[in-house]
C-alpha cells in the first residue's frame, strides 16, 4: 500500500530577488493512512507553508509530492485540477473554525458533498451523520453564531471529514480551546483516523497535546526532522 503522503526535497520560495524568502528548504515526509502526526516548530519555521503545499493551496517551487502514490507535484510538473483535488481528497481544519455564517450548521457541513455534486437531501443526511459522530448532532439546526467555540470547532472538523478525504490538514486546531476540549479534538481526530484510515497532520504549539502524537515532525528553518513520540516521552 502506498503512503497517504510522500514528499521529498520539497522547497518553497516566496518572492524574488532580494526580497526572496526560502520558507521551505528541503522537506521530506512520509505519512501512512490512519496515522496522526504532529508538526511542530518555532514561529516562521515554515509550518503553514508546508501545510499549504500539502493542501494544494500554493505550489511548491521544487521537489516531489505524491498522495496515495499519485504524483501531485514532480519537479515543476503538477496535476491539472488542484481545486478538485482539494475538494475530493483534502480536509482542512484551521485555528479558527471559519464556518460560513449565513448557512446553518448542517448546510455548513453539507456544502462540501454538494460542491462535489451530491444531491442536497443526501448531502444533508451525510452531514447529520458526521455531526452526530462528533457529538454536535443536537445542534444540527442551529445557526453558526449560536454555537460555543468548541462546538464550532467540532462542526469545522465534521466539515473536514464529511467527504471522507484520505488526508486532513489541521493548522493549530486546538489553539482557541481549553485543555479538556483540546484533548477531545485530538481524540476525535485519532478516532477518525482509525475509522476511515485518514492520514492527519496537525500543526501545533500546544504543549498539552504534543504527547498524544505517536510521531512528530520538527521543522526548523525550512527543514524537517523526524522524532518518534514514545522516544521523546521516554
Amino acid at each position: 500500500m502506498h503512503p497517504a503522503i510522500e514528499i521529498s526535497g520539497l522547497t518553497k520560495r516566496y518572492g524574488e530577488g532580494d526580497a526572496a524568502v526560502d520558507a521551505l528548504k528541503g522537506v521530506d515526509m512520509i505519512v501512512q493512512p490512519g496515522e496522526v502526526v504532529g508538526l511542530i516548530g518555532p514561529s516562521g519555521s515554515g509550518k503553514s507553508t508546508l501545510l499549504k503545499c500539502l493542501g494544494a493551496v500554493i505550489e511548491p517551487t521544487a521537489g516531489r509530492m505524491a498522495l496515495a502514490g499519485e504524483a501531485i507535484y514532480d519537479h515543476g510538473w503538477k496535476v491539472a485540477d488542484l481545486r478538485a483535488l482539494r475538494r475530493d481528497r483534502i480536509g482542512f481544519v484551521f485555528q479558527a473554525p471559519y464556518l460560513i455564517p449565513f448557512l446553518d450548521v448542517t448546510d455548513n457541513v453539507a456544502l462540501l458533498p454538494m460542491l462535489a455534486g451530491m444531491p442536497n437531501g443526501k448531502a444533508r443526511d451525510r452531514a447529520r451523520q458526521m455531526l452526530a459522530a462528533l457529538d454536535v448532532g443536537h445542534r444540527a439546526q442551529a445557526q453558526v453564531a449560536q454555537l460555543s467555540g468548541g462546538e464550532q470547532q467540532r462542526v469545522a472538523i465534521a466539515r473536514a471529514l464529511v467527504n471522507q478525504p484520505p488526508i486532513i490538514l489541521a493548522d493549530e486546531p486546538t489553539a482557541p480551546l481549553d485543555s479538556e476540549r483540546a484533548l477531545t479534538v485530538i481524540r476525535i481526530l485519532n478516532e477518525m483516523a482509525q475509522r476511515f484510515g485518514t492520514a492527519i497532520i496537525v500543526v501545533t504549539h500546544d504543549e498539552k497535546i504534543i504527547p498524544t502524537f505517536r510521531r512528530i515532525y520538527h521543522i526548523r528553518d525550512g527543514r524537517t526532522y523526524e522524532e518518534a513520540g514514545e522516544a521523546r516521552a521516554a
Partner: protein, 397 residues
Amino acid sequence: MINLAGRDILHGWGKFVFTGVGLGLLIGVTLSMAGIYRGLVDDGQALLGIGGADLWVVQRDTLGPYAEPSNVRDDAYRALLGVRGVAEAGNVTYLTMQVQHQGGDVRVMLVGFEPGHPGEPGNLVAGRPITRSHYEAIADERTGFRLDERIRIRRHEYTVVGLTRRTVSSGGDPMLFVPLQDAQEVQFLKDNDALVNERARTAANPAFNRPGVPGLLEAVQASQASSRTVNVVMLRLAPYTDETVVAREIRRWKHLEAYTRADMEEILIAKLIATSAKQIFMFLVILSVVSAAIVAFIIYTMTLNKVREIAVLKLIGARNRTIAGMILQQGLGLGAIGFIVGKTAATLWAPIFPKYVLLLPGDAVLGAALVMAICALASIVAIRAALRIDPAAAIGG
C-alpha cells in the same frame, strides 16, 4: 446545491432590504424624471388636441401662439373661410394671469374661444359647454375651481359651468376657458388703473373731447374698451383635404403663417420643450451613473465583508463560477428590490407633482432592463475582487 446568494441575503436581510429601498428611492427619482419628460411631451400633444384644430394660423414670421407672441386681426377668419378646403374657423386668445381663489392666487392661462367653433374645449369631465356669450367659464381641474363656483377675473364675475382635464399650457398652467369677447376685454383691460389712465388720456386729447360734438368722447372710449386682435385662428378642414396645401395657400395669399399639426409638434416638442428635455436627460444620465456607483459600492463592500468566507469556499473546492454567481445574484437581487421599490414610489408620488408625470410601461420595462444591466455591471468589480481572493488566506499564517 444550495443557493448561497439567497442564504446570505436571508441571513442579513435587514441590511439588504434597507439598501434595496435606498437604491429603490433613487431609481424612483430616475423613473419620475423620465415620467416628467414624457409628461412634457404628452402635455404638448394634449395642448395641440384642445380645440380640435387642423391648422393654426398665426402672425407672420412668428412661431405662435405657444412659442412666441402672435397677433392676428379678429376679422381675418372671414378671409380664411374663403380658402378652399377650410370648413370652420375659430378665434382664440391666450393670456397668462393670476386669478384670485379662496384667498390665494391661482396662475392660469385664460383662453378666449368662440363657442361652437374650433378652439372650444371638448371632453368635459363635468358640467356643460358654455352656452351664453358672457361670464361663463370652463376650468381645468388643476385650477382647483369647482362647478358653479363664481370667480372674479378683473372687473367681472364668472360662473364655472364645466371642468376639463389635461388642459394646460406649455408652461404647465391650467387653462380657464371664457367666451372670446370677455377674454379680449380682459386682454385689453389689463387692469383698472390702466383703464382709468387710458380714459384720462383720451379725455385730455382735444381731438376727441370737443365741446361742440356731444357723445364723441364716449363713443371713442367705448371703441377702446376691447381688443381687436386674437392670438391664433384655428381652422378645421373639410374631409380629405391636404392640410399642407391649404397651409401653403394661406401663407402665400393671406400674409399669415399657417402651421399643420406636424409643424406645431415640431415647434412645441423640438423647440419649446427641447431645453427642458435635455435638462431632464442630463439628470437621468447623472442619476443612472450615481445609481450604478452606489450599487457597485454596495456589492463591493458586501463582497469584501465576506473575504474569509469566500476564501474558505475556494479552499473547500467551490468553483469560481459558483462564487461569481453568488455575487451576481446578489447584485441582481438588489436591482430587483430597487426597481420594485422605485416603480412603486414613482407611481405613488406621481400625482403629487404639480405637472403631469407620465409613467409609460415601456419606460418601466426599459428602466428594469437598465437597472439589471447596471447591477450586473456593478457586480463585475466585486466579482473581480472575489476571484482575486487567495484560498490560502483561509489558512492564515
